[in-house]
Assembly symmetry: C2
Homo-oligomer: 348 residues x 2
DNA sequence: TGCAGGACTGTGCACGTTCACAGTAGAGAT
DNA sequence: ATCTCTACTGTGAACGTGCACAGTCCTGCA
C-alpha cells in the first residue's frame, strides 16, 4: 500500500451518513477499491474485499444513489406508468395484482418502482419531461387503448419500455407481455359447447382494446371450428363495466331469444349480466350458462360463482420486469405470450 | 455584465440533455441566476427571468434531480410504504383508492411516489437501509396492526412519516390521518335502531386494528346511548375476509337467536354474512338487516346491495400528503380525523 | 461630488460517486 | 540481475446542481 493517509476531509461533519471515503479509510484502502467491491468485487484481492465488507457493515454504509446516478447517467429506478384514465385501472383487481408483482420483481433487483399516472392531458404534460430526461431507466407501460400518445414519447426519448398487453395500432419492434386472450376465449367457448349449449352469445369488450378484439376473435374461431355460423345478433359490445354488462345482456335477451349460454369478456360485465338474467326471471346456469374472464374477486362473489378464465398475472409482471431489465442492459425488444387457465365454478 | 465568456466546457458532448450551464450560456447569464430562477425567481430581474425561461423552453431543459439531490441532501421523492403482508392491501379497494389519491396529490407538487413493500421480514431488511439513508424525503405509511416494526425504524432514521389510520400501541407524537371509525359505527347502529330493529348484533374486525377497535366501540356507545345493555353473545370477531364474515354470521345465527340486525365492520365480511343468512333460509333485510362498512365495490355487487359507511379516501390521501409535506418542511406532527358518510342501499 | 445602500449577478466550492488511467509489488522466465 | 506479465491498487477528473460570498451597477441623498 503506497498511501495510507486519511482521505477524509478535515472539517467535522455534523451527522451525515457515512460515505465511500469513510469506508475506504476504515478498511485501509482507496475509494476506487471500495467502489469496485460495490460493483461486484472483480479485480479486488480477497483480503481487501473482506476488509471493505467489514467496514461497510460496521459503518452501516449505504451507497448514495444520487451521486451514483450523477456519474453513471442512470436513475436506478423504473417507472410504472398508467397512461389512461386512472379509474380504469384502480378499479381493476388485475391491475393491483400486476402492480404488486412488478414491485416485488423489481425489489429483488433492488430497483425502486416509481408510480406515475398520465391519464389526463395535464398529467401527461407534467410527466413527459420527467420521462424524457432519464429520471427513470425504463418504463412498465400499462395501457390497452389504441393510439397511446405515450409510446411515441418513450420512443423519442429512447427510453426502454415494455407494454402490458399488445399495443394496438403501433408498428415497429416493441416489447410486450400478454396473456393468450384468444386461446382463453376459445377455451371458454369450447367448455360451453362441450356442456351441450347450442346458442352461445357473447358480450365482448371495447373493440379498440386488444382484449376486446382477441376475445371476440377467439369466440368466432371456436364457433367456426365447430361449424357454427356466426350470428351477429348474438354479439353485444360492452366497456368492461358492470353496468354495461347488464345493459348488454338485457339487449341480448330482448333481441336474441333462445340464447342458452353467453361468454362475457370480463367478470365485472358477467356479474352485470347475471343481474339482467335474474331480472328476466331466468336461472343460471340452468337456463343460461355464463362464462366470465379475468378470475377477479367478483367471480367468487357472484351468485352463482363465475366460471371464468384466469390470466397469469404473477407471471406477466415477472416477465415484464425481466424484459425491461434486459432492454435496459441493451437487449432488443421481445414479445411474450403466456398461457391462460380455465377455472370452472357454478355459472357454466 | 462582467463576464460573458462561454462557461460551457470545451469538449463536444455526444447527446446529453442540456444542463443549467447550457441554459445560462443561452440566456447570457450565469449558472447562479438560472438556479435562482429555478428556485422561484426571487432576486432576479424580470429581464433575466424572461431570458432564462426562454432558454429553458428552447433547449427543453429539465433539472437533473440526481445532481440536485446530491447537493441539497434531499431525494425529491416520497415513499408509499406497505408494511404488512401485501395481500391484505392489494385485495382491498380502499387501498388502491388511497394509492391513487396519494399519487395524484404528490404529482401536483411534482414529487414522484416510490412504492415500497415491506410485508415480509426479508423485504424489510432490504428496505430499511434504503429508507434510513434518506433516499426518500418522507414516508406515507400504510399499516394498521399493532406494533409496526417500521415505525421504530422511521423514527430512528429521523424520517418524516404519516400513518394512514391511528397506529396502535405507539406512544409519542406521531402524524396520522384517519376516518372517524367510531362515528361511522355509531351512525350505522343509529340507522338500524331508527328503522325499528331490536336485537342488533355486530361482526367486528380484528381487535389489534384501529378500525376493529373503534367500530366496536362505536357500536357499544350507540347502544348505550339508547339504554340497551351490552350482550357479548351478540358480538363476533372476524378478520375482514369474506370467509370470516360468513363464519361469524353462522355462529351468530346458531348462538344468538332473534337477531334482527347486524352491523358488520367491513363490506367483505358483510357479503359473507349475506351468504350465511341466505343459507339459513332467512331474508335480508326482511328478517335481518345488514350494515357494512367501507362502501367498497362489493357493497354494490352484493345482493341485496349493502347499506354501508363510506370513508373519505380521497380526502384522506390528500391530507396525508399535505401533512407529510408539512413535516418535511419542518412542521411538527399532527392528527387529522375526517368525517364519514352513511350510504343507504337495500340491505338495511 | 461622494457615499450609502439596495438590487441584482457571477464564481468557487462542495455534494458522493464512477471511471480511466497510472501506478506498484511480486512471481516467474531469461 | 533484469525484464515481463499479472494482479491488484490509488488518484484525478468528471457528473450537474445549490449555496455562500463577493462583487458590480445604479439610485438617491447629503
Amino acid at each position: 500500500m503506497t498511501n495510507t493517509a486519511p482521505q477524509r476531509r478535515a472539517h467535522s461533519r455534523t451527522k451525515r451518513p457515512p460515505t465511500i471515503i469513510d469506508v475506504a479509510d476504515h478498511a485501509g484502502v482507496s475509494r476506487g477499491t471500495v467502489s469496485r467491491v460495490l460493483q461486484g468485487g472483480h479485480k479486488v484481492s480477497p483480503a481487501s474485499q473482506e476488509a471493505v465488507h467489514a467496514a461497510i457493515r460496521k459503518l452501516g454504509y449505504v451507497v448514495n444513489r444520487a451521486a451514483r446516478s450523477l456519474v453513471t447517467q442512470r436513475a436506478g429506478s423504473v417507472a410504472f406508468l398508467l397512461s389512461e384514465p386512472q379509474e380504469r385501472f384502480f378499479e381493476d383487481p388485475n391491475f393491483t395484482t400486476l402492480l404488486r408483482g412488478c414491485t416485488t420483481a423489481l425489489g429483488e433487483h433492488d430497483i425502486p418502482l416509481v408510480l406515475i399516472t398520465a391519464g389526463t392531458e395535464a398529467e401527461r404534460r407534467r410527466v413527459t419531461p420527467f420521462l424524457s430526461t432519464h429520471h427513470v431507466d425504463g418504463v412498465l407501460l400499462i395501457s390497452s387503448h389504441r393510439g397511446n400518445p405515450m409510446i411515441d414519447h418513450l420512443r423519442q426519448a429512447n427510453l426502454p419500455f415494455v407494454c402490458c398487453g399488445k399495443p394496438l395500432g403501433e408498428r415497429g419492434a416493441m416489447s410486450y407481455v400478454a396473456a393468450d386472450d384468444r386461446e382463453g376465449a376459445m377455451a371458454m367457448v369450447r367448455c360451453l359447447l362441450e356442456s351441450g349449449r347450442q346458442r352461445i352469445a357473447t358480450i365482448a369488450g371495447p373493440q379498440d382494446t386488444p382484449g376486446g378484439l382477441e376475445r371476440l376473435a377467439g369466440y368466432r374461431e371456436m364457433l367456426a371450428e365447430h361449424g357454427i355460423a356466426y350470428d351477429k345478433r348474438l354479439v353485444q359490445i360492452g366497456d368492461y363495466s358492470r353496468a354495461s354488462g347488464e345493459a348488454a345482456m338485457h339487449r341480448l335477451l330482448a333481441t336474441a331469444p333462445n340464447v342458452d349460454a353467453v361468454f362475457v369478456a370480463s367478470d365485472l360485465m358477467a356479474d352485470g349480466a347475471l343481474t339482467a338474467i335474474e331480472r328476466a326471471g331466468l336461472r343460471v346456469p340452468d337456463d343460461i350458462a355464463v362464462g366470465g374472464f379475468d378470475d377477479s374477486p367478483v367471480a367468487t362473489a357472484a351468485r352463482p360463482p363465475l366460471t371464468t378464465i384466469r390470466q397469469p398475472w404473477d407471471r406477466i409482471s415477472e416477465m415484464m420486469v425481466r424484459q425491461l431489465l434486459a432492454q435496459i442492459d441493451g437487449e432488443g425488444p421481445a414479445t411474450v405470450i403466456l398461457p391462460i387457465e380455465l377455472v370452472v365454478r357454478e355459472s357454466a
